[in-house]
Symmetry: C2
Subunit: 316 residues, 2 copies
DNA sequence: ATCAGTTATGTAATTAGTTACGTAATTAAT
DNA sequence: ATTAATTACGTAACTAATTACATAACTGAT
């Protein structure tokens, strides 16, 4: 069974489960061997109760990291066999306050030897290893608390995918992509306006020949994102970042960020000082992206677009 | 939730389970995120099938370390969704030979990215730890293969219990214990013989005053084991190790070994060269113990006891 | 050629947890 | 003083594995 060698660390979940099952199995036999009637799965609950005073269901659940129904079930089993007594909370009558019964206390006394032997056996085993499983588990728990495995994988995916994205300058071949990608998102959220048609149908005349610039994001050589830097005739702003559109197919590939970065680089290259943009606050992810790129909200400028309700600017 | 800190390593089973559950949960979401219809629990089965050629249910089970019903179920689920094709074995028609279908192969292709991202995420996480979880798991598996946790705990118990055993010299207070412990085991397996009554009823005259010695094993000050060194009138042997009896209550406390060792020490102290004993081969644990103490089988000496069918000796 | 034992597999029941949901009690906000 | 929201906890249904058991097919020794 060298499955783990072959499959590698992505099988760590299976591997953990298998080891824990293996240990659980031995634990079952151990409880039989030491002649208690305690159920091994009661252990965490029983242990915390034998340490301290009475506790409520949810308090126990939190302490041992189980769900509360699990604790609820275990307590009712233990209660049936009279290891614990349950009592309604005096102040808060929703609470089920649980403590060990006389029988439970006696069992707790009796189980000390077993705890000691198990503890020693595990310490002994650990002493024969080069890598400390216990500490390693602690580290994993800590790191996963900070950032879940899910988040980590998503980050890796973004990294991989964005490495497949190339940002290139516009050439006429991309005219239809430039149009379609923009039409797609605009008509999803708003209505196409007169100004849209002009620039989308003829970017050469309306953007490029007026000193603007268009960038295209290719994913595996397919144009899935675009954005434009439009030369502004304005005392304060040099360019407008506009016509930013990313295909839903390219979600999670960091394309917006890469396009934005490339556009700002280009603006700097063109000697710009300030870049302006207009958007709408219902486009939360877009606003978010602009913020991350460094744009700040500004007010008091007129707009040719109906759909614009927020304006932002950045000093590049 | 500092339960693990409090409970210590004896909670390692719970801790392993919790981490594996946590990872499994994220895995479920990951499969959804990457848009396959594969079930995360299929992973080990799917993986081995995507590696090699067709395989049978039990072969897969063995490779991934699951039970065969588990694999059987997974395969039937995968089969229902047409990821695999099942076929009766040609030579052996009991066998269910399984391989990926076209759809399965396609899914295997498509899942490569996910594998890569997960692998990288885990490698990345591992790189941030001081203690290598993956290697630690390997070490635990190896050590548990050699000696199960159960066996290790039993060994610890023996160690602890034997530390509560004291071997002391006989005093008249122990006369009845000496008698009862021997009567108990003799009459369980055999019939009491004339020679037994003599020495058990009056050990002072029949053993001690003839230059012999009696040792008593106390467990928490209760006499639960005895044995005697009887002076022999024999050209070859100096003492006979006899009347070794340990209460069933004291099982697993190493009492026989401790008594035997003490008896041999005493024999040496008394200047003996060779110690003799008689027993019966149906008493397997006893014979075993004598072997471990260093006794070797010998032949050709007459015995006063009917129940004796084996004779052993040791040069002390 | 036959019969006992072994092997491959499937089905059913069990286990130790989970999530989903409902209800009663408490607390907070008008 | 209501009403809405939150909290505590129980019940039900589900999940991913297991063990126990049944059955059919094969193998080997008479």
């Amino acid at each position: 069974m060298n499955f783990y060698e072959k499959a590698g660390k992505k099988a760590i979940g299976s591997r953990l489960r298998q080891l824990s099952d293996r240990i659980a199995e031995d634990a079952t036999q151990l409880y039989a061997l030491y002649g208690t009637n305690l159920h091994p799965k009661w252990f965490p609950v029983f242990y915390v109760l034998s340490q301290g005073q009475e506790k409520t269901i949810t308090a126990i659940a939190e302490e041992i990291g189980h769900s509360h129904p699990s604790v609820s079930k275990i307590i009712s089993e233990m209660s049936k066999q009279q290891y614990v007594v349950e009592e309604k909370g005096k102040k808060d009558r929703r609470k089920n306050v649980v403590r060990l019964s006389a029988k439970g206390l006696e069992a707790a006394e009796k189980i000390q030897d077993q705890y000691e032997d198990v503890g020693n056996a595990i310490e002994d085993l650990s002493a024969q290893t080069n890598h400390d499983l216990w500490k390693a588990l602690g580290e994993w728990e800590f790191l996963l608390d900070q950032k879940s495995l899910l988040q980590r994988v998503v980050a890796q995916r973004k990294l991989r995918e964005s490495s497949l994205v190339r940002i290139v300058d516009y050439i006429p071949e991309y005219r239809s992509a430039f149009r379609e990608l923009n039409v797609e998102w605009i008509s999803t959220y708003f209505k196409m306006e007169e100004a849209d048609y002009k620039s989308l149908d003829n970017p050469e005349d309306y953007i490029l020949n007026k000193g603007g610039h268009i960038l295209v994001a290719l994913y595996r050589d397919e144009p899935l994102g675009v954005c434009a830097l439009i030369k502004m005739n304005h005392p304060e702003f040099d360019y407008e970042l506009a016509k930013m559109a990313v295909s839903p197919k390219a979600q999670g590939k960091n394309m917006g960020w890469l396009l934005g970065q490339a556009a700002l680089d280009k603006a700097r290259e063109l000697g710009a000082q300030k870049v302006f943009l207009e958007s709408n606050t219902i486009l939360k992810p877009a606003i978010n992206l602009y913020h991350k790129l460094g744009f700040q909200k500004i007010t008091g400028y007129p707009s040719p677009y109906e759909r614009s309700n927020i304006q932002m600017a950045i000093t590049v």
